[in-house]
C-alpha cells in the first residue's frame, strides 16, 4: 500500500446524511437509465451513435482522500528501477560496448578477415594485436567482423522464438481445452529434440545460409517462451480485471492483446532476452561444428578452424571465445536487470 497523503476533511462537513433523508427510496431525479431508451435490443447500432447517459447531478460522498504520488510515466519509473540495479547496468554497458565494437570495429580496423596478413600462428604483437590463425589471417579482424554474424543471428533468432512462443503460448493459455492440449503436445514434441542436434539437421539439409541458421535456431528454442506465455495467460485470465473487461464487452482479440498481454510481458521479455544469449551460444556451436555460413566470418568459425592448434596458438581460440563470453554475459546481466525493473506490482 503506497503511503498516501492524509488530507483530512473538515470533520464538520463529513457528518453522515440524515438516515431517513435521501437514503430512502427517493425517486431518481432527472434522466434515469431507462429514460435514455434503447433501440430494439436485437438491431445492431453503429457504435458511436449511442447516447451517453450523463446520470444525475449528485453531491460527492464525504471521505474524499487524495491518493498519493505524482503521475509519473511508466518509462521514467522503469528507467529509475533499471538503473538502480548494478547488474543490469553493467550488463547494458557491456552489451553496448560489444555492439559498438562489432558495428564500428571492422570499418575502423580496416583489415579483411579473410585476407592473409602474415605468417600463420604469429603471437599477438603490436602489428597484429590478436595474432594470426592457422593460415595467417588476422584474428582481430575476424573477431570484429565475426561478431556481426553472431549478434545478428542471436537477435533475429530470439525475435523468431518470441513470435512463435508468444503466439502458441497465448492461444493455448487463453483458449484452453482442446487447443491447449494440442499445442502443448506440439511444444512437448519440439522439447524432446535436443536443440543443437535439431538445428544441425535443419542447417545440413537446407543449406548453411545465415537465414537458415537463424530460422533453425529459432525453431529449436521457442518452447520456453511458449510455456511461460501459456502460464501467464492462464494465470491472468482468471483475474478480476480481465473478467471486468469481459463484462464491459471486450472481444477476445482485445482481451488477449490489450488487457492480458501487457501484464504478461515482463517475464516474457526477460525470457526473450535470455533467448538472445542462448541463440548466440547456439550459433557459436553451429559454426564451431562447421555449419555456419562459409562466406561469413563468425566467432564460432574461427574457434572451429583452429581448435586443433590450441596448445601452441592459444590466442586463436581464447579471443573469439572471450568475445562470445562477454556478449552473452552482457545480455544475461541486462535481462536480470530487466527482471527487477519490470516486475509488476500486481502481486
Amino acid at each position: 500500500m503506497s503511503p498516501n497523503l492524509h488530507r483530512v476533511p473538515d470533520p464538520k462537513v463529513g457528518v453522515e446524511v440524515d438516515p431517513l433523508g435521501a437514503g430512502l427510496e427517493a425517486p431518481p431525479l432527472g434522466a434515469g437509465p431507462e429514460a435514455g431508451g434503447d433501440p430494439s435490443p436485437g438491431m445492431p447500432v453503429n457504435r458511436s451513435q449511442r447516447p451517453l447517459e450523463r446520470g444525475l447531478a449528485f453531491p460527492g460522498t464525504p471521505g474524499a482522500i487524495k491518493p498519493s504520488g505524482a503521475s509519473q510515466s511508466r518509462y521514467r519509473r522503469f528507467l529509475r528501477l533499471f538503473l538502480k540495479n548494478p547488474a543490469g547496468l553493467a550488463g547494458a554497458i557491456l552489451t553496448a560496448i560489444m555492439v559498438l565494437t562489432v558495428t564500428l570495429g571492422p570499418g575502423l580496423y580496416g583489415v579483411d578477415p579473410f585476407e592473409i596478413v602474415s605468417a600463420p600462428f604469429m603471437a599477438p604483437d603490436s602489428e597484429t594485436p590478436m595474432g594470426t590463425d592457422y593460415v595467417g589471417r588476422d584474428i582481430l579482424a575476424g573477431v570484429l567482423s565475426g561478431g556481426r554474424a553472431s549478434l545478428s543471428v542471436g537477435l533475429f533468432a530470439a525475435m523468431l522464438t518470441a513470435v512463435i512462443g508468444l503466439t502458441i503460448g497465448s492461444v493455448a493459455g487463453y483458449f484452453g481445452g482442446f487447443m491447449d492440449t494440442f499445442l502443448m503436445k506440439v511444444t512437448e514434441f519440439f522439447q524432446v529434440l535436443p536443440n543443437l542436434l535439431f538445428a544441425m539437421v535443419l542447417v545440413t539439409i537446407f543449406g548453411p545460409t545465415l537465414f537458415m541458421v537463424t530460422v533453425s535456431i529459432g525453431l529449436a528454442s521457442w518452447m520456453n517462451v511458449a510455456r511461460l506465455t501459456r502460464a501467464e495467460f492462464m494465470r491472468l485470465k482468471e483475474m478480476d480485471f480481465v473478467r471486468s473487461a469481459v463484462t464491459a464487452g471486450a472481444t477476445a482479440p482485445r482481451l488477449m492483446l490489450a488487457t492480458i498481454l501487457p501484464n504478461a510481458l515482463p517475464p516474457i521479455i526477460v525470457a526473450a532476452a535470455f533467448d538472445i544469449s542462448f541463440a548466440i551460444l547456439l550459433e557459436g556451436s553451429l559454426s564451431f561444428l562447421g555449419l555456419g555460413d562459409p562466406n561469413r566470418m563468425s566467432w564460432g568459425l574461427i574457434i572451429g578452424q583452429n581448435k586443433n592448434y590450441v596448445l601452441d596458438a592459444w590466442w586463436t581460440v581464447v579471443f573469439p571465445g572471450a568475445a562470445i563470453f562477454l556478449s552473452v554475459l552482457g545480455v544475461c546481466l541486462t535481462s536480470d536487470g530487466l527482471n527487477d525493473a519490470l516486475n509488476p506490482r500486481l502481486e
Partner: protein, 359 residues
C-alpha cells in the same frame, strides 16, 4: 491418488491404507503404475512423431530423396541408387512410403550408411554407451555440486559466498561449451598435464578390469568437467531461487514457531519443497545437455555420438544424422519419463490424471 471417489460404487471415502515409513509406499502402487502407463503411451506417440519428422525432413530436402540418402556417395554408382530406391520404395505413393519407413525404423533398421558402409543402427548403438556414461556422470555431479552451492548460498542471501555463486552461475551459463573445453585443454594440456586431453582410453595400455575403468575415468575427467561447469551453474541458479522462494513461505514460519532448529527448518522443510522444480529442470535439461555433450566430444575426441555427428555432417550422411536425432530424442524421452515418475514420488499432491512437470 489418495481418495478413490470416482469409481461407481465408491466405498466411504478412504485414506491411503496406513503403511510404514517411506514416502513412496504411501502413494499406492496402482496409482503409480497408471501414471507410468499414461506417460509411456505419450512417449511412444512422441517417438512416432520424431520418426515422421525424419521422414518429412528427408523428403523436403532439395533434390531427389535418393541423392539425399546416398549423401556424398550420391550418383557415383547406379546400383547404389537403384538399391536405395528399392529399399525406401521411393517410387511408391507418399503414404505408402511413410508406412515402409516407419515399419523399417520400428524393426530397428535405420537405413544404411554408405560412407561407413555399415547399417546405421549398429553404427549408432555402438557409440551410445560412451555418451550416456559421460552424460549421466556429468549430470549427476553437476546436480550435486550445483544444488549444494545453490542451497548454501541461499542460507545467507547477501553474503560474499552467495555473490560468488551467482557470479559462477552467470559465468558458467555465458561461456560457450567448446570454449570452456578448449580452455581446460589448454590449462591441463600445457601447464598441468595430469589428465589426458584426447580419446577414451590409452590405446597402448590394454589394461583390464579396474585399471581399464580408472583409465577411462582419467580420460573422461576433462570432458565431464566441461559439462559439469556448464550445468552446475544452471542447477545452482535454480536451487538458490527455489530455496529463497520456499524460505519466504508460511510453513517455514510455522516450523520456526514450533521451535525447530534453523538447520532442521532449512533442510527438513525448505529443501524438500525446493527439490521439486530442480527435478523438473533435470528432466528438461537433458536435451540441451546432450547437445553440449556432442560438442564436448568433438573437442576432446570422446568416441561417442558427438564424433559421429561431426563426421556425418562433413559427409552429409543423412541416415546417420537422422538416426542420431532419433536415438537422442529417445534418450530425452526416457529421461523425462524417469524424472516425471520421480516427481510423483516426491510430491504427494500430484494426482494420477494430471501429467507430470511437463504439463
Amino acid at each position: 491418488m489418495a481418495v478413490p471417489l470416482n469409481r461407481a460404487k465408491a466405498p466411504a471415502p478412504t485414506l491411503p491404507p496406513a503403511r510404514g515409513e517411506g514416502a513412496g509406499g504411501r502413494k499406492g502402487l496402482a496409482s503409480l503404475a497408471k501414471a507410468a502407463g499414461f506417460r509411456l503411451f505419450n512417449s511412444v506417440a512422441l517417438l512416432l512423431a520424431v520418426v515422421v519428422l525424419n521422414f518429412i525432413l528427408i523428403h523436403s530436402a532439395p533434390g531427389d530423396p535418393a541423392e539425399v540418402i546416398a549423401g556424398e556417395m550420391g550418383g557415383s554408382t547406379p546400383e547404389i541408387m537403384a538399391e536405395i530406391r528399392a529399399r525406401y520404395g521411393l517410387d511408391q505413393p507418399l503414404p505408402k512410403q511413410i508406412f515402409i519407413y516407419v515399419k523399417s525404423v520400428a524393426s530397428g533398421d535405420l537405413g544404411y550408411s554408405y560412407f561407413f558402409n555399415q547399417p546405421v543402427s549398429g553404427l549408432i548403438l555402438r557409440r551410445v554407451p560412451p555418451t550416456v556414461l559421460l552424460m549421466v556422470f556429468s549430470l549427476t555431479l553437476a546436480a550435486l555440486v550445483g544444488v549444494t552451492l545453490g542451497v548454501i548460498s541461499s542460507a545467507r542471501p547477501n553474503s560474499p559466498l552467495s555473490h560468488l555463486v551467482t557470479a559462477f552461475s552467470l559465468a558458467g551459463y555465458a561461456s560457450p561449451v567448446f570454449w570452456t573445453g578448449l580452455i581446460l585443454m589448454l590449462i591441463f594440456g600445457r601447464f598441468w598435464p595430469i589428465f589426458p586431453i584426447n580419446g577414451m582410453f590409452d590405446v597402448v595400455g590394454g589394461h583390464k578390469g579396474l585399471a581399464y575403468a580408472l583409465d577411462v575415468l582419467r580420460h573422461m575427467a576433462l570432458p565431464s568437467l566441461t559439462l559439469i561447469l556448464l550445468n552446475a551453474a544452471q542447477f545452482s541458479r535454480l536451487a538458490r531461487a527455489s530455496m529463497l522462494e520456499n524460505l519466504s513461505m508460511d510453513y517455514i514460519r510455522t516450523a520456526r514457531a514450533k521451535g525447530l532448529s534453523e538447520t532442521r527448518v532449512f533442510l527438513g522443510h525448505a529443501l524438500r519443497n525446493a527439490l521439486m522444480p530442480i527435478v523438473t529442470m533435470a528432466g528438461l535439461q537433458f536435451g540441451p545437455l546432450l547437445a553440449g555433450a556432442v560438442v564436448v566430444e568433438t573437442v576432446f575426441g570422446w568416441p561417442g555420438l558427438g564424433r559421429l555427428v561431426f563426421d556425418s555432417i562433413l559427409r552429409r550422411d543423412y541416415p546417420v544424422l537422422l538416426g542420431i536425432l532419433l536415438i537422442s530424442a529417445t534418450m530425452v524421452i526416457v529421461a523425462n519419463l524417469l524424472t516425471d515418475i520421480l516427481y510423483r514420488v516426491i510430491d504427494p499432491r500430484v494426482g494420477v490424471g494430471r501429467g507430470g512437470p511437463a504439463q
